[in-house]
């Protein structure tokens, strides 16, 4: 006579291993690291007087310009290598983003759009729209082209792939602008840090928009104006940031010579990337859940 043994402990359910790198977690780490480093330099220079105001060390400026890239390599790229199913062309996409920034976006900005010559005197809406339709849209479209005409068709397996690749392309794009700013201008180390952080955050934020729209275009059936609307939205977001940044920096009250508030620009850019990371994490998660429910792989709540 035989009988089934009675288990006192409940049977363990097999834990599903998540095969991909968790994009939001690593991106938050990079953003917080860059924000913390730049805020520390700002505090050490302008609050505690530990560093001289006029410090213009080129190596320090270059290090700050390359900090986002180093953080991405150490956090996101290393995390990707350790994942069960790594995304294969992240580094290539980052390099392509850097290439189009240097070969196309910079010449366009310096020789055709020349935003420094006509945007600063404009009012808020003039600045926002002027930036949107020139430098902003050019940057957005170039990153879209890098993704759309290389890996989009084959390697966008899920929505989070789009976010990961778009963030990589945007980071490569932003790092080139950072390096050019560090080497070509006479800005101080603290000003370079603030600019680098703002520039990186806004490119990551607009990159998230591009990635979300490209991801939806790959995995679902959006209307025919989906991608144009996404490109316009990303460019307009960059334009709004450009318009508000001027207000955030110069609207401070103070007894100094210029009454400016340089930390305002950093705070604005950080708020932008933080808000977009939260929004798109929610949108992508809910879209994935809806898709799984529709496919019958998940019970509706």
């Amino acid at each position: 006579m035989s009988f089934e043994p009675i288990l006192l402990a409940p049977e363990e359910e097999p834990v599903e291993v998540y095969p991909y790198r968790r994009v939001w977690q690593t991106t938050w780490q990079e953003v917080l690291l860059l924000f913390a480093v730049v805020a520390a330099i700002y505090a050490a220079t302008l609050v505690f007087d530990l560093l001289p105001d006029g410090l213009r060390d080129t190596r320090g400026k270059l290090a700050l310009a390359l900090l986002p890239l180093a953080a991405w390599l150490l956090i996101s790229y290393r995390g990707e290598r350790r994942a069960v199913a790594p995304r294969p062309y992240l580094l290539s996409v980052l390099l392509l983003g850097a290439l189009v920034a240097n070969a196309v976006a910079m010449p366009l900005s310096e020789r055709l759009f020349v935003p420094d010559r006509w945007l600063p005197p404009q009012g808020f809406f003039g600045r926002a729209l002027g930036y949107t339709f020139t430098v902003g849209f050019a940057g957005v479209f170039l990153r879209y082209a890098v993704l759309r005409y290389t890996i989009w068709e084959t390697y966008f397996r899920q929505r989070l792939d789009a976010a990961a690749y778009a963030l990589a392309a945007s980071l490569g794009f932003a790092v080139i602008l950072n390096v050019r700013y560090a080497l070509d201008t006479d800005a101080t180390v603290v000003a370079t840090g603030l600019w680098v952080a703002s520039n990186t955050f806004v490119h990551m934020a607009t990159g998230l928009v591009i990635g979300f729209f490209l991801g939806e275009l790959r995995v679902s059936r959006p209307p025919v104006i989906w991608m144009p609307a996404g490109l316009l939205m990303a460019a307009f977001l960059g334009g709004l940031h450009y318009g508000f940044r001027g207000i955030a920096i110069v609207s401070g009250l103070g007894v100094g010579a210029t009454a400016s508030r340089p930390i305002g620009g950093l705070a604005l850019s950080f708020a932008l990337i933080a808000a977009l990371l939260l929004i798109f994490a929610f949108l992508i998660q809910s879209a994935d859940e809806r898709q799984q429910t529709a496919a019958g792989r998940r019970e509706p709540l």
Partner: protein, 202 residues
Amino acid sequence: MNRPITYVEERPGLSFAQRWNTYLSLALAAAVLALGVTMRDAALNATMTLEDLEAGIRAQVPQGWLLDRSGREYVFRAADPDALPFKTLLQVSIMPVGPDATPASVLHQIEIDRPLRFPAYRVISRRNVTLRDGSPAVRLTYAYVQSERNPALETLPIVVEGVDLVVLRGAQAVIVSYREERGSFENNLYRFENMLNTLEIF
């Protein structure tokens, strides 16, 4: 009988929506960038009317430039406040002349003290031109070196290139001038041409 083997690579094609999203994105890029360039042109070439009823001069000068109407040597002077290292200058002057004066003789008179006022002054070209209304004029192109007066600033001297155009109107000569740093001279020459084309003497 052997039949040739044909191989056709099959790739999953794009859907209708994906294809049209791609086309419309490209069309949007062309439209937006054209709009952007138009906005840039409108902002960079925006002008305002400058009028001096006493001197009888009306002209279009770039918007946002600093205007100076207080000088004795000129009717007005407009300078670009954002230009570096030299503030791009447009100027209109009037000089009373005798009945036998010609544009060339007026120009000669202007040039007399130039080498004293402008270091390393050199004439590059001098040519007779005809304005749109048929009036004869003389156009002089020159260059000189401008140095910062404050030695504490430790700046390098810059080469300035200039144009003077002299035309006679009744008993007075009108001198339209443009000065710019050598490297930006050609790029901004259109501002001088624009002002010249809109200049009215009444």
